[in-house]
Assembly symmetry: C2
Homo-oligomer: 465 residues x 2
C-alpha cells in the first residue's frame, strides 16, 4: 500500500514537472516568434519580390529557389528538392466581359477565367444568359432552355455559417463542376458568382474540372465579382433577354517539371518517425498569394527555425514540405505521399497551414479517438495563447494523401471571417497579412509539433486540465 502511494506521488510529481517544462518551452516558442519574427520577412519576399506563383510559372520556380536558399541558411540536417510534373495553365491577356440589355447598351463587368478553363472562341462568346442557383437546377430546366446559352451560377455563400470554409464547401461545386454539367445540356459557356461573402468588385478564380468531357465539348468558364453578380441578377429579373459577352484566351500547356521544397531536422531518438509541417508554395496568379498560401509556407518554415532558435532538438524527424501545385492539381501532395510510400517512410504526424495567415484559433484533427483524446489533454497549455479550438475535421489538401490508420493529420485553424474576401483574388496581397497574427500562427504550430515530438502518439499521457 505504502509503495503504491509513493508510486502515485512520484507519478504526480513527474507530471507536474513535465507540465512546467512544457509551459516553459511553449512560452519560449511564442516569445521568440513575437520578439524575433522571421515568417513575415520571408512572406514579404515571396509576395512582393516574387508575387503570384501559379504552377509552371517563372514565379513558381523563383519561389522554389528562394525558399530552398532560405531553408539552406537555417542549418537543417537536410534540404532537398523533390521533382514533380505539374500542369501549366496560363491566363493570357486580361479577360473582358459585359452584359447587353439592348443593342448598344452594355455594362462592363469584372470577370476572370477559372483555372483550367478553355478560352472563348476567337473574338469572344456572346449569348443569352440564364441564371440558376445550382447544378441541380439544370435538370429541371432541361436542354431546351439551356442550349446555346451561358449558364450563370449565382448561389451565394451561406452567411449564417460561422466557419466560412463551410459556406465555401456548400458553394464551390458551382465553380468546380459547373461547366462540365452545363455542357451536358448544350450550354455555350458558364459564369460563376465569385466564392466571396463580401459584396465587392473582385472576381475570384479557382480550380474547375471538365471531368470526362471530351476536349471538343469543353465550354469556357469564368467567375464574376459578387457586386456584378447581384447587378446581373437584378437586370435579368427585369429583362430575361439580356445577352452576355466574354472573351478570354487562357490556355493549357503540356505539364512541366517543378518541385516540392523539403527540409528536415533529423530526430535524435526516433529518426524514422517523421513529422511534417507544410503549406503549398504555388498560388493563383491574380494576387500575390499572401494568405493562400504564402502564409502557410513561411509559418511551416518558421516552425523549424523556432526549434533551432529555442535550442530544441526533436526526438523525431521534423520535416517542412512546401508542396507544389495544390491549387490546380495537387500533384505535389500526391508525389510526396507516393515517394514516402515507396521509401516505406513512417509518417506519424502531418500538419498543414492553408487557411490564411489570420489570428490562430486552434486546430482540426483527422485521427483516431484515442489520439484525439490525447491531443485534447494538451488544450490547457494553449489557452494562455487564446487557442481554444481542438476539433475533429479535415486537415489540409496536401497532407491528405498521407492518410492511413496510424498518422495524425491536422490543419491550423485561423480566424476565417476575412479569408474569402481575399481568396484567389487580386486582393490576396501582403498588406492584408498582419505580422503578429502570422507569427502567432507559426508559434501555435511549433508548440503543437513540440508536444507531438515529446509525447508521441503511443502511450497515454495526462496533463492537468
Amino acid at each position: 500500500m505504502r509503495k503504491l502511494v509513493v508510486v502515485a506521488l512520484l507519478f504526480s510529481v513527474v507530471n507536474v514537472i513535465a507540465q512546467q517544462e512544457d509551459e516553459k518551452q511553449i512560452k519560449k516558442i511564442y516569445d521568440t516568434s513575437l520578439t524575433a519574427p522571421q515568417a513575415y520577412e520571408w512572406l514579404n519576399y515571396l509576395s512582393n519580390q516574387i508575387g503570384g506563383r501559379l504552377s509552371g510559372s517563372v514565379q513558381a520556380q523563383e519561389a522554389v529557389e528562394y525558399t530552398k536558399r532560405q531553408l539552406d541558411s537555417l542549418g537543417l540536417d537536410r534540404v532537398w528538392l523533390q521533382p514533380v510534373m505539374v500542369p501549366k495553365w496560363v491566363r493570357g491577356t486580361p479577360e473582358y466581359a459585359y452584359f447587353e440589355t439592348k443593342p448598344g447598351h452594355t455594362t462592363n463587368v469584372p470577370i476572370c477565367a477559372l483555372g483550367g478553363s478553355v478560352a472563348t472562341k476567337e473574338g469572344g462568346l456572346k449569348a443569352n444568359i440564364i441564371e440558376v442557383q445550382g447544378i441541380e437546377e439544370l435538370e429541371k430546366l432541361g436542354r431546351a432552355k439551356i442550349e446555346g446559352k451561358i449558364v450563370f451560377y449565382n448561389r451565394p455563400m451561406n452567411p449564417t455559417l460561422i466557419s466560412t470554409f463551410s459556406s465555401y464547401g456548400g458553394c464551390v461545386d458551382q465553380r468546380y463542376s459547373g461547366a462540365a454539367e452545363a455542357g451536358k445540356y448544350g450550354a455555350a459557356g458558364v459564369i460563376v458568382r465569385s466564392m466571396n461573402l463580401r459584396l465587392d468588385d473582385y472576381p475570384h478564380t479557382g480550380s474547375m474540372s471538365y471531368g470526362d468531357t471530351p476536349v471538343e465539348n469543353r465550354i469556357p468558364a469564368a467567375a464574376i465579382s459578387t457586386n456584378s453578380a447581384e447587378l446581373l441578377s437584378t437586370t435579368l429579373k427585369l429583362n430575361p433577354n439580356v445577352k452576355f459577352y466574354f472573351n478570354q484566351n487562357c490556355k493549357q500547356y503540356d505539364d512541366v517539371k517543378s518541385y516540392n521544397v523539403i527540409g528536415e531536422i533529423t530526430g535524435n531518438e526516433f529518426p524514422n518517425e517523421i513529422m511534417v509541417v507544410g503549406g503549398h508554395l504555388d498560388s493563383w496568379d491574380l494576387g500575390d498569394g499572401s494568405h493562400d498560401d504564402g502564409a502557410g509556407c513561411v509559418q511551416s518554415m518558421d516552425v523549424l527555425r523556432l526549434f533551432k532558435a529555442t535550442g530544441y532538438q526533436p526526438k523525431r524527424t521534423l520535416r517542412v514540405v512546401l508542396f507544389m501545385n495544390e491549387e490546380n492539381g495537387l500533384r505535389g501532395g500526391n508525389k510526396y505521399a507516393e515517394v514516402a510510400k515507396n521509401k516505406k517512410e513512417t509518417h506519424v504526424f502531418a500538419l498543414e497551414s492553408d487557411a490564411g495567415g489570420f489570428s490562430p484559433r486552434g486546430f482540426s484533427f483527422d485521427c483516431s479517438d484515442t489520439n484525439f483524446e490525447k491531443i485534447s489533454s494538451w488544450k490547457p497549455l494553449f489557452e494562455p495563447y487564446l487557442i481554444h479550438m481542438f476539433v475533429r475535421g479535415g486537415s489540409g489538401a496536401d497532407v491528405g494523401p498521407l492518410k492511413d490508420e496510424n498518422i495524425v493529420l491536422s490543419g491550423l485553424r485561423p480566424d476565417s471571417q476575412r479569408y474569402f474576401d481575399h481568396h484567389h483574388a487580386e486582393n490576396d496581397t501582403f498588406e492584408h497579412v498582419n505580422q503578429r497574427e502570422l507569427q502567432l500562427g507559426a508559434a501555435t504550430m511549433a508548440s503543437l509539433v513540440y508536444l507531438v515530438d515529446k509525447y508521441g502518439f503511443d502511450q497515454p499521457i495526462k496533463i492537468k486540465g
Copy 2:
C-alpha cells in the same frame, strides 16, 4: 421519495426546454445579424459621411444627430439626448517636426500632438533631445541632464503579451503622464513613441494629463511614429547631440455642450431593472474612428435592433447609451452615472464594446463570484459561434462609473492583434472593419443581453455544459 424523483425529473425537463429555447433564440439573433446586417451601414455613414468625431467638434454634433435619428427610426419606447458639458481641444494646423544631426542636415518625422497638449511657442520648439525608456528613468537622470531638453519616451509595447491591451497598459503612462513628469525636471517638451506594436509611419494620438501642473509650466507633447522612433533612437546612439524641432498649434477652448445619445426598450416585467449596452460616440480626429469606437456604437445600437427584428420583448429595460467624450474626459460616462444615481435608477448590467470591430472572442466581466459562475454556465451556448473567452477583468471606461456591488459590468473582447495598428491614428478607417466580424460582435452582445434579461442575476440557473 417518488415525489422527489418527479420534481427532479420535471426540473430537468424544464432545463432542457429552456436550453433549447435559448439555443433557438441565439441562433435567430446570429442569423439575423449575418443575413440582414445593419451595424455596418450605420458605421459607413458615421465614418465616411461624418468622419472623426472629437468632443466639441461639428462632427461630434453631427454624430449625435445622426444616431438619434437612427434610434428614432427603430421604434423604441424612448429616445433622448442627455446634455453634458465636454472639453473642446482643437489640433489646429498639421504638426511639423524634424531632427537635425548637424546644422542644415534634417530629417522630417511624422508626429501628432497628444490630445490636451499645449502648443509649442510661436515658431516651434527646437532643443536637444534625450531618450528614456520610461518615467522612472527621469529621476536617475536628474534635472541637470533634462532641463531645457526634449524628453523622448521610447519604451515599446511588449510584443510577448498575447492581449495587446495588456501591452498598451504597460506603456501608456509615458503618453498620459510623460509631459507632467518631465516638466518637473525642466524639460522643454516631450516626444512619445506611438502606442503601436507595428513598425509604420503613423503617429498615434491619445489623451494626456498635466495633472496639477500650473498652466504656465505646461510643456508641449507629441507622438512620433514607431518607424521614426526607431530611426531617432538609432541616430541618437550615433550622435547624442541631435536636436529635435517640432511645431504644433493645438488649443484648449472652453467646455461646450454636447450629449449622450440614449434609447431604450422598456422592460415589460421589470421595467426598473436597467441593462445598458454602449460604446462611445466621440473619437480622435486623425482617422474616422471606425474601430475606436464607431464599431462599438453601431454594435450597441444593433443589439436593440436585433431584439426588435427577432421579435423578442425584454422583461428588463434595455438601454443603448452612446457616450460622449470617452477619449479626453469621460464626461459622458460620468454624467450618465450621475444622472442614474440622482434618479435612483437600478442598473443590473452594463456591457461596453470599445475594443474594436474585430472578430469577437468573448467577454470580460467585473462582478461577484456568484454572478461570474452563473455567467460561465452560459458558455456552451456561445461555443458554436466560436466565443470562448469568459474572463474576469475590466469592462469599459464609460460604464465604469456605474460600478457598485450589485451591477455586473462587462466588455466585449474582440481579437486584439490588429487593434493597435489603427488605434488613435489616421488609419483607423472604415475599410479596416470587416462586416461579418462587426455583425458577429453585435450578435454576440445581443445574445449575452438576451440571457441576462431572461435569467437575471438572482436565482442560480444551470445550463448543460
